[in-house]
Symmetry: C2
Subunit: 142 residues, 2 copies
Amino acid sequence: MSSISKEAVDRMTRLIGDRDKAECKVNRLRSLTVDLDEEELKAESEIFQAMADPCRLKILSLLRDGELCACEIMIGVDRPQSSTSHHLSILKSAGLIKERKDGRWSKYRLSEGAVIEMLNLAQIMKDSKDERGNSNDKIVKA
Amino acid sequence: MSSISKEAVDRMTRLIGDRDKAECKVNRLRSLTVDLDEEELKAESEIFQAMADPCRLKILSLLRDGELCACEIMIGVDRPQSSTSHHLSILKSAGLIKERKDGRWSKYRLSEGAVIEMLNLAQIMKDSKDERGNSNDKIVKA
DNA sequence: CTTATATATCGAAATGGATGGATATGGTCT
DNA sequence: AGACCATATCCATCCATTTCGATATATAAG
């Protein structure tokens, strides 16, 4: 499908010898990502981007215990008000938290669903990386 | 514990009236994040950071099908060699993929464990955000 | 209407990350 | 040895993000 570049086929041909098979393999590789359109990938990457900050992870942790207003969160993370507000808006537009206006307060809570599982998974991944990191140094066995 | 700033207690006192209770609440908020030391948060955020790029998500998707060499990945994602290599090194040092040297080739595969679940969760989160997104937010940035 | 407070937004500096061409490294083959 | 190739690294440019003080908006209360 779509534009298979001659360059890629050339390179693949050098790799595996047979030009027909090479073209086939390039097609297969390209087709693996055809169903992933750029928009979707970008949307997903934005979710990860929103979690890619220590302060925002701290906020999410705070909210595991229930709803808090921006002011309490600011105290919890110990950052200036404008920074806290900025982080909250990023988390909100990524869909990770929900906002509820209550008088002059903005109260935030975790979105239902996968957020907590995501945090747990990240912790698991970090831990397993720590373990292997020490025993294995840098060389991966052949 | 540790340094409860007078400023935070003042602010909390204004919020809930009673100074003793305020101090107590500040302590509770701070204690929620005491067990999260900065190093750990940073390590976790790096995992998310590594996944916070469309091209890298594409690479991870490619690798769901099995081991590939850098060259094949480069064809799959259709980016210059240096960019591809750069992304691979980020994924590797975040512990999301593993490298195996084989002659002049570097072959990459997903790390065992949580990577795939993470990708699935992200998709679920994106989808549920899309659905709810229409009803509520319209914070599409310009 | 004025004051006070909670939150959002602006603006500018500093930092960080992506990109891709050029070059270096290290393996393979003849 | 030399040629070739896969991959990593270097470097410079560009773009995005973080940070935080200053300011604006909004709501409540006197």
